[in-house]
Amino acid sequence: MIAPLFRYGLFGDETSLIVAFLIGIGFGFFLERAGFGSARKLVAQFYLTDLAVFKVMFTAIVTAMLGATYLAWMGLLDLSLVNLVPTYVVPQIAGGLVLGFGFVIGGYCPGTSMAAVATGRIDGVFFGLGLLAGSFVFGEVIRLPAVASFFTSTELGETTIPTYVNLPYGLVVFAVVLMALGGFWAAGLLERKAAACATR
């Protein structure tokens, strides 16, 4: 095993901040390249006229997933040293719904709003201010015991789909790849349908 490099002590905390900036540049570059600095391009996903959000997101997930899986199989990357956000089923489903509402109302998510700000979108600036306000509101309401106990409910710890359903890791990876390919095919079909409806 040689990776994750930082976890094996190849560089320290100060250097990791430079790495963060460089990785951020790559992240922002490809978000903007894909058109995700534009709220209209992003929300088109939810009106089925342009499914770039789905295509980019699932291509990225499959690419990183396959890369990490192969590197782990070759003994180069220790996946157990890569951070996993612990699972809290109900708060994460509720949070996802609220975030989905915010996405179609506001037109961005936190990462893409920064691509919007960087390319001059005033609505991206207002979205960012909304993010700060929302973070403050959450920090205040979590003081209520009822909210705090909901936040930590249905805890399953750090777990993955293969661990939880007790299937081989590679089989779940394969299923995700098949699902993504099926999704890409369906996305093309839906876009052609939407285009045909628009010209009719």
Binding site: A20, G26, G28, T63, A64, V85, F101, F103, G120, F184
Partner: protein
Amino acid sequence: MTTKTSAAAWEPVPVKAEPAERELAAPYMNPYLAGVGLGLVLLAAFVVMGRGLGASGAFNRLVVFVLGGLAPEHAKASPFFASYLDGPPLKDWLVFEVLGVLAGAFISGLLARRVMVTVEKGPHASVGLRLAMAFAGGLLMAIGAALARGCTSGQALSGGALLNLGSWAFMLSVFAGAYALAYFVRREWR
């Protein structure tokens, strides 16, 4: 950088550009190609750092930085704010990563001549309505991301690639929530 000062500056840049704008802005990258690029950046984060990408955490840290300066005792009493107060709130990996996102998006936008001061909205929505909705959407999103312990980047993208159980439950509900509400806010976009 293109900065228009006329009233036209407030018109959104159409997704399918009009002839005049088409000469100016380059077309977006093929989504599958951009996805591979984004995936390789995410893989680099796994391999080099042992962590995924993120965004919402940086905004929480900015709030904690300001609140911790104005009312430190009040900030410490909230478990959410306190979780960011173990060191200087802004000397953090995610904060530097988000600064990189701003730089990277600016470079890409500049190269494609897409940097311009404008408001993204549908043809029938007013600028005031759009900016109010952008603020409201951001507010909801920060609450959702805090509840879920991550946003589209930290949960859906990074956790998705690691087959994290909670991330996949989160991702499906994001799409469900957005599709469920899309009809009701269509006047903002259509």
